[in-house]
């Protein structure tokens, strides 16, 4: 069969991915640089293609709570936004995690803090991987670094969300969302018609117990048991769901650690470095949580230095340091506020921070 190839924006690819992954619903609110997600869905009319519902909410707060309601019935639903909007959703995300509801949340991140800029940024790493909302919870965080992965991770995201009954966050950025690349599309998956009555709200069947979906338990001892259950689930995620990619690490003396759009920039910087005889490799975390600490710890002793490259003031570098420990030279290089570093700039900083220093 002929491959179905299409030139798409990242934001369009994730929308098409959601339709083809058999999503039941999308609830969102416009914000730059991700508005194409809902625009694409509205134009495609997935209600006619698969029966998928698309609704423009009155706010990000409403959108995430629509997701919460629909997810409580076992439906496969998602939302998307960009940094300030994702901040607004944090309460709802905490409720989703507390009530153990599966859903997919896409952040096409932009520069902050505050209203910030509309240009790409990776400054939402802390928010994505270390909470964001209140309470002891984790999101499974996927970091696409190509338009293809924007499409593919819609499928992976929903799979993981339902496997663990946990919200999955796709942390993209304005660069991946806005750029156009070739995408290989896969076939349409059917929308699910089976709903697991052990937890979903579909109306209490005659003769069966009703279901309640809530994150509330006023009894502290039971709430602690619930928290222990969540932590056990997160341990399973850590054991089973770490994903990462290695590039040119076999003979590398220096290592970039970078995800998303920064990983793409590092790929070019590696090429430029190797042309000058500097052997650089890349570890690209695909899951930002659970973080690929183990493979990074195994690689680190072979390196003369590690550079964490992020479009932030240095957020992921904390996880790099936690993974690797002492004895390895670790530095961070990043641009902030929507500025995108060039490959030359990245290579220059590797030399400055790790070699000549």
């Amino acid at each position: 069969m002929m491959k179905e190839l299409k030139l798409m924006k990242g934001n369009e690819a994730v929308a098409e991915g959601a339709i083809r992954a058999g999503a039941d619903g999308y609830f969102g609110y416009p914000i730059t640089p991700q508005s194409e997600v809902m625009e694409y869905l509205m134009a495609e009319q997935p209600e006619k293609r698969t029966g998928m519902v698309v609704l423009q909410a009155e706010s990000e707060v409403a959108a995430i709570n629509m997701v919460y309601g629909a997810a409580s019935t076992g439906k496969k639903v998602m939302t998307s936004s960009s940094s300030p909007g994702i901040s607004l959703m944090q309460e709802g995300i905490s409720y989703l995690a507390g009530a153990e509801l599966p859903c997919l949340i896409l952040n096409v991140a932009r520069g902050g803090p505050g209203l910030g800029t509309i240009q790409p940024s990776q400054a939402d790493y802390f928010q994505s991987t270390k909470g964001g909302g209140h309470g002891d919870y984790r999101l499974i965080v996927l970091a696409p670094s190509s338009v293809q992965e924007m499409f593919d991770f819609a499928f992976l995201g929903f799979d993981l969300a339902f496997k663990y009954r946990n919200p999955v966050l796709m942390l993209s950025d304005g660069l991946i969302g806005q750029m156009m690349e070739k995408v290989e599309l896969c076939e349409q998956l059917p929308r699910t018609t089976y709903f697991d009555r052990s937890w979903t709200l579909t109306g209490k069947p005659d003769g069966q117990e009703r279901n309640i979906v809530t994150s509330l338990d006023l009894d502290a001892s039971r709430q602690e048991v619930h928290n222990q259950h969540l932590q056990e689930k997160y341990r399973k995620c850590r054991a089973n769901e770490v994903r990462y990619e290695l590039l040119n690490t076999e003979d590398a003396e220096y290592l970039f650690v970078a995800y998303g759009s920064s990983a793409r920039i590092c790929q070019k910087a590696i090429q430029l470095g190797r042309e000058e005889g500097i052997k650089i490799g890349l570890l690209r975390p695909i899951t930002l949580w659970p973080y690929p600490s183990k493979p990074l710890a195994e690689l680190a002793p072979k390196m003369k230095g590690i550079l964490s490259v992020e479009q932030s003031a240095g957020q992921m570098v904390e996880d790099v340091r936690l993974s690797v420990g002492c004895g390895v030279h670790i530095e961070h290089f990043g641009r902030m506020g929507g500025m995108i570093p060039t490959p030359e700039e990245v290579l220059e900083n590797l030399k400055k921070l790790l070699i000549t220093k």
Binding site: D24, G25, F27, V53, L55, A57, E58, S59, V61, A62, A63, N65, M66, V67, Y68, G69, A70, A71, S72, T73, K75, V77, E91, G92, Y95, A99, L201, T202, G203, K204, P205, D206, R210, N211, I212, V213, T214, S215, L216, L218
Partner: protein
């Protein structure tokens, strides 16, 4: 005749609906929530729609509504019940979906969600309990607190100049074309309980006929928050709440009622 001769199935004139669980209510003695819960569940039982109904509980005194209402239920975050209900209803248009919210939840923090769900004409039923105060958190001023009414955050009475006016959300949403049935009721007397139940039935029938959003406000007492005995609280409600929040239908079959 012994009492045991009377307690027989053939002599049964009234029993608790099985749609109310056996869990003791968490509400203060004298509060209207219990009656509102019961008539809501009776309507769902009488319509035979228990297996097709999904309820949304709010944050406030009725945060634990799902402990008492024997239907599939989800607990929403504060004020967001209409958005949660929207998400459910859009994905399951054939189910009956209702929210049960207090005045702080519906008319303060959830104002945007309430107005927009009503304006979209989401085919859901909103049960709105208005007692003019935040009961669960200990009697603070609500968006529906009357001018001059004392609460823990308006200890000298609600001051119009600095605290603004009480909000008539029900009249407000009745203006929106998305709503089909909007009414204000109470549950402080047998007659009013019967009327309120009939109103809830009308609201669910509207949902069945896919007419749009239906909202039933129930003006209720909060004897604990108002610091009155239950009977006195109901008397105070009749004297003070009803003149500002008059009972009766505001919109029927998508048309505003003339006397409003």
């Amino acid at each position: 005749m012994d009492i045991k001769d009377i307690i027989k199935p053939e002599n049964l004139v009234y029993q608790k609906t099985p749609l109310m669980t056996d869990k003791p209510l968490s509400y203060c003695p004298g509060c209207g929530h219990g009656t509102a819960h019961r008539i809501l569940m009776e309507v769902i039982e009488e319509m035979g729609i228990q297996s097709e109904t999904i309820g949304v509980a709010p944050v406030g005194c009725s945060v634990l509504a799902y402990d008492f209402m024997n239907v599939d239920m989800v607990g929403a975050s504060h004020g967001r019940a209409p958005a949660v209900a929207t998400g459910i209803k859009r994905c399951w248009p054939e189910k009956f979906v209702y929210t049960y919210q207090g005045d702080g939840d519906l008319a303060a923090i959830g104002t945007a969600e309430t107005i927009h769900a009503c304006n979209r004409g989401e085919n859901i039923t909103i049960i709105f309990i208005n007692n003019g105060i935040y009961g669960m958190t200990g009697g603070q001023m609500a968006p529906t607190t009357l001018i001059g009414m004392k609460t823990s955050t308006s200890p000298y009475g609600r001051d119009l100049e600095t605290m603004g006016n009480p909000l008539k959300m029900t009249e407000l949403v009745a203006q929106l074309p998305g709503t089909c049935y909007v009414t204000r009721q109470s549950v402080h007397s047998p007659r009013n309980v019967r009327r309120a139940k009939k109103a809830i039935r009308t609201a669910f029938e509207s949902q069945k006929e896919k007419k749009g959003t239906s909202l039933v406000e129930i003006v209720s007492n909060c004897n604990s928050g108002w610091k009155l005995k239950p009977v006195a609280a109901n008397e105070w409600m009749v004297e003070n709440m009803f003149p500002f929040f008059p009972l009766g239908d505001i919109k029927v079959d998508g048309k505003l009622v003339d006397n409003q």
